[in-house]
């Protein structure tokens, strides 16, 4: 068994473990190829965590990730619930909603710029119908720290993913328990929260885990659509890596490692919380 798995395990440990170990070591001052070797040295982390802007960046990163995960989740649930019902044009719609899944992020970002920017399509339409006097009066959506542009792109891309996952789960669950609940006298809200939601919870947890993990580490959208300093952590790391002073790469590594630590802590506690909930209702 172990012997057969050896080749796979070896590749996995070199690819993932190796990269991780190297990243951690580098963030602790081990980079002989730059002529830097002060391992173990916590000063990079110290400098990072000691600066106010790191915490601002972390806050922004979490804010974009959480808000867009939340919105994508709610929209995904609503869409998935709609998809298991029969309505006219459903077969066309079934293809349509998956479109963003196949379009690359960068295209989505470009679309956001074209549509949402001042002077973009929507602002022009607003100006055209007279809601605003000039496209430039359109409220700033992109390049602010509210990050509505970033969130829009995340939600646009990830809602279909959540929908797809939950749609499959809902098909597996079937309509019968909902019908049974209705006959027993439950209204729509009671059916959703008492019967449907608990049954699709595993799908909700796994899909939100995946999109949250992606959102927290995503780079392009906040880089292009973000409001500038303070940036999100992946953008901060990228700036360090790209700096002419290559020793700042160690600082960048410390940023990446911090982000990884925080993300894992959040995902782990989320899972632990979910597990304890499952145990409390008696499933295991």
């Amino acid at each position: 068994m172990w012997v057969q798995l050896m080749p796979v395990l070896a590749v996995l440990s070199v690819l993932f473990g190796g990269a991780l170990v190297l990243a951690v070591m580098q963030s602790l001052g081990f980079a002989p190829w730059f002529g830097v070797n002060t391992f173990p040295d916590l000063s990079y982390f110290g400098a990072l965590w000691g600066s106010w802007s790191f915490w601002q960046s972390l806050g922004l990163t979490l804010y974009y990730a959480i808000v867009s995960t939340g919105i994508a989740l709610v929209m995904g649930i609503l869409l998935a619930l709609a998809m298991v019902r029969i309505f006219p044009g459903k077969s066309l719609y079934k293809y349509l909603y998956k479109l963003p899944l196949m379009i690359p992020y960068t295209v989505g970002i470009a679309l956001a710029v074209i549509m949402l920017g001042n002077g973009g399509m929507i602002s022009r339409i607003f100006a055209f119908v007279g809601l605003i006097g000039d496209p430039s009066e359109f409220p700033q959506i992109l390049k602010t720290h509210y990050g509505w542009g970033i969130i829009t792109v995340y939600v646009w891309k990830q809602t279909p993913f959540v929908t797809l996952t939950l749609y499959a789960v809902l098909l597996g669950v079937g309509r019968e328990t909902e019908e049974a609940a209705a006959i027993l006298g439950a209204n729509k809200r009671q059916i959703f929260f008492g019967v449907t939601l608990p049954q699709i919870l595993p799908g909700i947890v796994s899909s939100t885990l995946i999109i949250f993990a992606f959102n927290i580490g995503a780079f392009e959208a906040p880089f292009i659509l973000g409001g500038g300093y303070p940036d999100t952590l992946p953008v901060v790391a990228w700036r360090y890596f790209n700096d002419a002073d290559y020793t700042l790469q160690l600082q960048g590594m410390a940023t990446v490692v911090s982000l990884a630590l925080i993300a894992s802590a959040i995902l782990y506690s989320y899972l632990a919380f979910y597990r304890s909930f499952e145990r409390r209702i008696g499933r295991n």
Binding site: A180, I281, R283
Partner: protein, 350 residues
Amino acid sequence: MTKVQLKGVRKDFGSFTAISQIDLDIESGELVALLGPSGCGKTTTLRMIAGLEVPTYGHILFDDDDVSEVPVQDRNVGMVFQRYALFPHMTVEKNVMFGLKVRGTPSGEIKQRLEDILDVVQLEQFRHRFPAQLSGGQMQRVAIARTLITNPSVLMMDEPLANLDTKLRGEMRRFIRELQQRLGITTIFVTHDQVEAMELADRVAVIFDGVLAQYDTPEALYQRPNSVEIADFMGANNIFDAQVSNGVAKTAFGDLQLDTDTKPVRDGTGRVLLRGEAIDLLLGEGEASQNVITGKVTAREFFGATVNYTVDCKGETIIVNEQSRRMVDVGQDVWLTIQPQRIWVIQDAA
């Protein structure tokens, strides 16, 4: 209790007609079986009564009030699904209490009724289990308890016994019948097993291809089916072409005197139905005076308590069923006789 009526009910799914036309009156407190082959529309009929499907045409009345527009939640019906549809994330207790919780019943009363109903279905020791940890029969009792606790005015069951083994089936059948009689609740249950329908139901509605073919007591359905298909479905095997005139049916194996006082017939073509257990098999000629059919035993099937003889009578095959008090050998010449009032003639409607 509630009287249920279906008036000219039809159900189309797109261009497909699942139910073409059904009229059905179910008396208050009655136990009615919907019987028919797979795909004939039994579940669809039940779902329309429950309010899960809306009839394309026609009306459904509870105690003479049209409920066609009343939403499922407000019909106060109960339904036990074919696959139980228990809530997998809730314990037996929570499953059973669900209906009362969503209606906002005070928790003291819920507790009380929970204990009562768990006692009725004998599930006390399983109250903290999840559906996945129960056997089929236990799941079914949970489904019944979950429904009964809400005091529905109409109880519906969709093939409640289909997933159970023979022994459990018998037990559950008696359980359902007893419960239904004790509570006097109007009950409609679906089955494709004619024995089950006859054993349980006060009246049986036979549905073929979305049409109500006959609605009668089990006895009438068995003795006096109004079509060959129903007779077939009810397990009849001696059906023969006949020419009826002056109260006599001429068949390939001889003339049969009919009892036209109790069962009027028209002159013309028809089919006679001879129930296997209504036929007497005699070993000597002249032991009977009327409706005597001569023949020869060609096969014998032994079922323990009863035995079936296949008798060849002038080219027609008649199956005779009798108690196995004696054994008649294959190859023996026999004389069959049947009383006029035991012969049923099936004729097309005029």
